[in-house]
């Protein structure tokens, strides 16, 4: 059986905005992602040069070495606009909240072997500073990038990383106390095994080319750090002590899968645009990957000991395969 509810129907004059219709190849119904993203950033007749960067226009394609005929070739496969993004993150948040509650209410922390608890505190809590760096870098990409198709998801990414830093802080508070946050910061600033990573992050803060920054942060550092620390080391802890720690870092693991879809699509679009872009992306990715491996090695070694070298090789192989799929040889 079918019921037939009726509404008054009037014929619209048009289906969507002209700029959207042009991109769709005709006047067709458009999605909210398309109407809220395409051609949104002002393009013409800027009134004044930025007093903070008089060498450039307000929005300026030449702030990166990457060249695109059309900056709206970039597509977010997740089709995020604010509403869909925030609802997707609310689902991650709800899961994370349930996991944290479960661990807390069942007193699971007390049964965690001391070595694993210590390792989790030593490894995951200082990472909150890396996430904070990623927040700053994605704010940069949003501020100085070109075209809403890249800059809007960068802003969402920036806030994701703030959220991630806050969840890692809560891991510290749940597995330990405020003192562990203090100790983690001390390690981040002075412990030898963190210094190459901190140098990597601080150097990224002064990168002027926003696409280079995108590669350094979202492709390379995340692309090696997440699989190694939030997957490989996580698996190790689970094998030793059950999934308690994995529950508390589930946000990061699931978020990375989601974010990678966007990063891969962005790289692929830029790389297939021209041979010059491809060469530039490869040069950046190769150089940053070498630095990232060096920066992550002491941390993976701290967690996995002799198994570290194998784990890093494997992560690197996967990373290269992922880049190759996006058209970038590393």
């Amino acid at each position: 059986m079918q019921i037939d509810l009726r509404t008054v129907s009037i014929t619209p004059l048009r289906q969507t905005f002209d700029n959207v219709a042009k991109r769709l190849g005709g006047d067709k119904p458009a999605s909210r992602y398309q109407e809220g993203t395409w051609d949104v950033q002002a393009r013409a007749n800027y009134h004044y040069r930025p007093t903070w960067d008089p060498a450039h226009k307000m929005f300026d394609e030449s702030r990166t070495a990457i060249k695109m005929k059309d900056w709206y070739s970039f597509k977010d496969p997740r089709q995020f606009y604010y509403g869909s993004w925030t609802q997707s993150r609310a689902r991650l948040q709800e899961t994370a909240e349930a996991d944290f509650d479960f661990v807390e209410q069942r007193g699971l922390v007390a049964n965690l072997p001391a070595t694993i608890r210590k390792l989790a505190l030593e490894l995951y809590v200082p990472l909150r500073h890396v996430e904070w760096g990623a927040n700053m870098n994605n704010a940069s990409i949003c501020a100085y990038g070109f075209g809403t198709a890249v800059t809007a998801p960068a802003q969402f990414q920036a806030m994701d990383r703030l959220g991630s830093a806050q969840y890692l802080s809560r891991v510290g508070l749940l597995l330990g106390s405020q003192d562990d946050l203090v100790a983690a910061k001390e390690a981040w600033l002075n412990d030898a095994k963190w210094q190459d990573l901190r140098r990597y992050v601080e150097d990224s803060f002064v990168v002027q080319d926003w696409f280079e920054l995108y590669v350094a942060q979202n492709l390379v550092l995340d692309g090696l750090m997440y699989p190694l620390l939030f997957r490989r080391v996580d698996d190790f802890m689970t094998s030793q002590a059950g999934p308690v720690v994995a529950m508390l870092t589930r946000f990061q693991a699931e978020w990375f899968v989601d974010s990678s879809k966007w990063v891969d699509a962005t790289m692929k679009t830029a790389a297939t645009e021209s041979a010059e872009n491809k060469a530039q992306l490869e040069a950046w990715a190769t150089a940053y990957a070498a630095r990232a491996v060096k920066a992550l090695t002491p941390l993976v070694t701290h967690a996995l000991g002799d198994a570290a070298a194998g784990a890093i090789d494997e992560a690197m192989t996967q990373f290269k395969a992922r880049c190759a799929k996006a058209g970038v040889s590393v």
Partner: protein, 521 residues
């Protein structure tokens, strides 16, 4: 077993989860990591004195905002499905939305990018996070506005190429240059311009009249995004106020700099509000209150109290304050007159007020309306009814700073146009008021860059590629409107039609569709 950790207070917990994430860099110098923090001359000695204006961690933010979005989009869907647009008072109202989409929504987007910039630029972590949150809210506002007005675009003219128009159309350079000015200023000035002057001092005169107008005129669609943005807006207001107090408390040398910014941005913002004044008094079929009443409540009373509060820092009310208060009897009438004149060149409709509208205006403006403006409207109406609807075909002179046509009058004399002139590097520049002249004179190197629509038209920069201005019968106005992507004859001219009395397409469609939805045709 360890002792259970003591429960953290909200403020302490928020501090740990935000500003404690920050560290002072050592592999790269701090002034290279934050290169834009000092060139404006603002002295900040201790960012830890920053009081977080709201304490919202991302988990709570996602939870609350997702709930708001679900509700808002449910209303939008229902509005579209039910042809909610046919419930508005009459089709004249829809022109306020065209003004909003082409003039205001692009500013929401610029706010998003501007707050991303300052959310990266400030060395203080607490301030950065608060600004980033605002950046995020601003893209929300921009996108919910586009999505709400998408349904109007499907049924009415003038919405169809909003971004292209925002970058080009003559009067849209008023709001555009306003925000470009703030965006290209330093991060501290941006915060005084947008966070304080715009969001805190003027928001009740910009955003609120549009949304109240929507509510009064039966527009559930626009009302829904406005009401949904309310809690975001109150966060933004708190941020603006915290920022100004923080700067003022950090160093007495900051006071004169901030005072100059307040003078500038009050005047800059007030000039943009000209568009709101005419919207309130002339464009809303059912009016919320007059511009004059709104000014008295939101500027004179509320603003007065605010500046009394800031007096303890040595801050005085903005320089143009008295002038703005004196202008409240004239502003909206002068503005609508200009838009009526240039009704062929704007992608929304204009009209003369009805007899009933004029009685309302006379009652609200006893000192100015009958004396100066009623005769004007009666004359225009009579001309139109005789088949001679007046359209001005010459281009107006624009103010170098606010970019509004020079129609404002001299203080104390509403019959004499006000002109001011400055010289810079041998060229003359014109401004509409003492307020705009002061702004120009302080930073001429900035304002000589203004992309002034009228100058650009005369320089031949506003025609489609391949246009030949020497061809026989070349009509420059038509060529400019084509370059604007205007649907000539559908987007522009009088609400009552090109042929006066036959109705514009919007007017006729609205009446036809409303009859369809309320009767049996």
């Amino acid at each position: 077993m360890d002792m259970p950790a003591k429960k953290l207070g909200l403020k302490e917990r928020y501090g740990l989860l935000t500003r404690d994430l920050h560290w002072d860099t050592t592999y790269q110098p701090m002034d290279k990591v934050f290169p834009y923090a000092s060139y404006e001359g603002i002295k900040i000695h201790d960012w830890s004195k920053w009081e977080d204006p709201f304490r919202l961690t991302m988990d709570a933010y996602w939870k609350y905002q997702a709930e708001k979005e679900r509700k808002l989009y449910a209303i939008m869907d229902a509005f579209a499905q039910n042809n909610g647009h046919l419930g508005v008072t009459d089709a004249r109202y829809i022109n306020t939305l065209k003004l909003f989409l082409t003039g205001v929504s692009p500013l929401e987007y610029m706010a998003h990018r501007g707050f991303a910039h300052v959310g990266r630029a400030f060395p203080g972590a607490g301030a950065r996070v608060a600004c980033q949150m605002q950046s995020l809210d601003e893209i929300r506002h921009f996108q919910t506005q586009i999505h709400s007005m998408s349904v109007y675009n499907k049924h009415y003219n003038g919405f169809h190429d909003w971004q292209h128009m925002h970058d080009r159309v003559w009067y849209l350079s008023v709001p555009k240059s306003f925000f470009d000015d703030a965006f290209t200023a330093g991060p501290f000035e941006f915060m005084i311009a947008i966070g304080f002057a715009f969001e805190y001092v003027l928001t009740n005169l910009l955003f609120v009249p549009f949304i109240s107008g929507a509510a009064y005129n039966g527009d559930m669609g626009a009302m829904a995004f406005g009401f949904s943005a309310q809690s975001d807006e109150s966060r933004h207001m708190t941020l603006g106020l915290e920022m100004i107090k923080f700067i003022l408390e950090q160093d007495p040398d900051n006071v004169p700099i901030v005072q100059r910014w307040i003078d500038k941005w009050f005047w800059r913002g007030y000039r943009v509000l000209t568009l709101v004044a005419m919207m309130m008094d002339y464009m809303l079929p059912k009016r919320v209150m007059s511009w004059k009443e709104a000014w008295e409540i939101y500027a004179e009373e509320n603003g007065g109290a605010l500046f009394a509060d800031l007096a303890r820092y040595g801050i005085k009310p903005p320089k143009g304050w008295a002038q703005a208060c004196a202008d409240k009897d004239y502003l909206s009438h002068q503005a609508w007159n200009v838009f009526y004149n240039y009704g062929a060149a704007a992608p929304f409709h204009t009209w003369t007020p009805s007899a009933q509208d004029m009685d309302w205006l006379a009652a609200k403006y006893p000192d100015s309306f009958d004396k100066h403006y009623r005769p004007l409207w009666e004359n225009y109406t009579e001309m139109a009814e005789k088949g001679n609807r007046f359209y001005s075909k010459t281009l107006p002179m624009l103010c170098q700073v606010c970019q509004i046509p020079m129609f404002f009058t001299e203080p104390g004399d509403p019959t004499k146009i006000c002109y001011r002139e400055s010289e810079y590097k041998g060229d003359k520049y014109h401004t509409c008021s003492d307020g705009c002249k002061d702004i120009f004179d302080y930073e001429p190197e900035k304002y000589v860059q203004s992309w002034l629509p009228v100058h650009q038209i005369y320089q031949g920069n506003c025609f489609e590629r391949g246009t030949d201005p020497t061809a026989e019968g070349f009509d420059p106005l038509i060529a400019v409107l084509q370059w604007y992507h205007m649907n000539i004859g559908r987007d522009n001219f009088d609400f009552n039609g090109i042929e006066y009395g036959k109705g514009s397409e919007d007017k006729n469609n609205f009446e036809k569709w409303r009859a369809m939805s309320t009767g049996n045709m």
